[in-house]
Symmetry: C2
Subunit: 392 residues, 2 copies
């Protein structure tokens, strides 16, 4: 429990760390230092003297530790959308004779959107095949060029069996990309052992890097030197400061860099990763399962109106619990009005994430009690709570 290392408003029970993690107490000062002592004092010299140029790789390695990747295999930068595009373009390039990208309907839509945009841009008749999550394994055939999946479902928390699906896909000759957006910092991962070719993820959820924190990409070290970068930006060039007219990819994971790194966001992320430095992911997982199980038990006992949308078996679940309720949007607004922060995902999902760094059993019990009161009194049934904002 490291709640004292975060600035969380007094009285708030924050169960939305799978959307945007809270502010690490040290982050504001860290960013201010980067601005005043580095940008302000060093100006252009900051790229060398403050080590800005190396930050994406250095911070990539710190994330690598959390996802079970070896040093030099994880790079930060851009947004998750862009990293999905990079990984998928590289994966398809490795399988030129196959034309099917397999994904599932539980994938976060932007992964599918980015795939649609890439396949259209390639104009080579590729198909994006979307099956239900439970049918992915059966849909793996020797037609599949790339298997593109999000490990933990953003709505239900349902977790794919990474190792089994990776093995099956690779045995069928496919390349495998895992989106770890809802896994990184939530469940133990061992990308090396998984043998998957690529993984991507974001850092503003469980890692608490802040709004707009950069994404990351992992490339299996043995394939990295042969990977063809579709987004061949100058900082991924072998010698960016030679200003060649011709692109030559950098060594290994360096070629997954694109443009100028967002140094202020990286400073905030660095402060948040300091908190993770001595965290044991197995310990986090044990606490997370306790919290999730407790919430399920309490809500099912207190709120018969809600139906569990997440797997009951913790082994098949990430670090979130979701319930279905017809008026879930309004109920979530009522809950937020009482300072219990979860979120809503269409059409009827109330989503709660459990983050042992700053949430404990008392928070879970308190949240369940407040939810019970709202359901018992129909406190959600007001025009104010039912009016859905344009942006949510």
């Amino acid at each position: 429990m490291k709640k004292h290392q975060f600035d969380i408003p007094q009285g708030m029970i924050y169960l939305d760390g799978n959307s945007l993690g809270p502010l690490p107490s040290a982050a504001t000062q860290r960013v201010a230092q980067t601005m005043q002592d580095e940008w302000g004092e060093l100006l252009i010299k900051g790229w060398n003297q403050a080590g800005w140029m190396q930050q994406p790789a250095k911070i990539g390695d710190r994330i690598g530790r959390i996802i079970g990747a070896s040093p030099g295999s994880t790079m930060t930068g851009d947004t998750l959308c862009i990293k999905v595009y990079q990984a998928l373009a590289a994966g398809l390039n490795m399988c030129p004779d196959r034309k099917v990208v397999l994904s599932d309907s539980g994938n976060f839509p932007t992964d599918l959107y980015m795939a649609q945009g890439l396949l259209k841009t390639m104009g080579q008749g590729h198909e994006l095949r979307i099956v239900d999550p439970e049918n992915v394994s059966d849909a793996i055939t020797d037609e599949i060029a790339v298997l593109l999946l999000t490990h933990v479902d953003y709505r239900t928390g349902r977790m794919h069996d990474m190792d089994a699906l990776t093995q099956k896909a690779q045995a069928a000759g496919a390349i495998v990309i895992w989106d770890l957006a809802h896994s990184t910092g939530a469940v133990p991962l061992d990308m090396t052992a998984s043998n998957a070719e690529f993984a991507v993820g974001c850092t503003y959820k469980y890692l608490n890097g802040g709004p707009g924190a950069p994404a990351f990409i992992y490339v299996r070290p043995d394939i990295a030197p042969g990977v063809e970068p579709a987004l061949s930006g100058w900082l991924g060039h072998l010698q960016p400061f030679e200003f060649d007219l011709e692109y030559h990819p950098g060594a290994g994971i360096d070629r997954m860099r694109v443009g100028t790194p967002s140094i202020l966001q990286l400073a905030a992320l660095e402060a948040s990763l300091d908190i993770w430095e001595d965290v044991d992911m197995d310990e986090i997982r044990a606490r997370s399962v306790e919290l999730c199980d407790l919430f399920i038990d309490e809500v099912e006992a207190r709120c018969p109106q809600l139906t569990l949308a997440s797997p009951r078996d913790a082994a098949q679940r990430g670090s979130q619990v979701s319930f279905r309720f017809k008026d879930g949007y309004a109920a979530m607004q009522a809950l937020i009005a009482q300072n219990v922060i979860g979120d809503f995902r269409a059409p009827d999902i109330m989503r709660f994430s459990f983050t042992p760094l700053y949430i404990d059993q008392q928070d879970v019990l308190e949240a369940a009690k407040i939810l019970q009161n709202i359901m018992q009194t129909d406190a959600w049934d007001t025009p104010q709570f039912k009016a859905r904002a344009a942006v949510t």
Copy 2:
């Protein structure tokens, strides 16, 4: 002159604002507020209640004013590399029957790299044709699908005739993309009058947005609704929070959004744009020409060892002056050691930018005197200054 609105180290003459602008005095506090009052207090609610979701468009419009674009035609986000890719992919999509992208050897290499990556990904036999800057006009033929140029050359400051080249290319049936990296905030621009289809640029140079500040893209309003986004990310979706499995592009310029905006970088950029709010670009241009002309006169009179690399005619020049010198790297290091900050670009270019917001005639005279002293005494000729760092 707004030097008092920047934190520039005492005694430093900063002539590298075309690489990274200095820290606006208000920026650190602005970012700290965004972190503490918005991220810290509002957490996930910041997307609505602090207006984070609208920041990329709102700040885009403020940049739009500086580049002569109408409201609703400029969007911030990502890096310049990504914006080049978006614009070029969209442009090629508008000219399916033509297979040549025309650019020049004075373009910043990353624009060429991104084009190389895109053309390879498309795999449809496109050619990237690179001619010398002075031959661009003659190379415009009815083979050209897209003309992709940087307006002001990053090494020499040579400025293309935007209107003439745009007209000629469009008359030949081509789409035109201008990279405004070295023009935005440096020279008056009127993107509407230019009639170019696309423009892209960055905000960490003359706009002083800070290291990693987001890039921007302009799309001519009449074509925006038909533009096909290659990087079809969820925040460019018509209804991102409906979580459709199918991508439907947002209205107009909104479709150029990709992933989660970098809110901390945008906060710093916002503080820097406050300084620009009442700046008249014609006034900036008049002062810039005075400063550049003065520097050329002084250096030519004082330093016969250096050869002017920039156009002598101010009308053909951006807001920088470059000189060639065989040992330019070492000479620039010697100059930096005396707190006059310019930079070096291979093979022999010493580059100085003149930014009237915080540089005046006295700075120019002082810089020229220090440079004269270094050249007269061969102060650059030491192993320390000649040892070129791996990253510069």
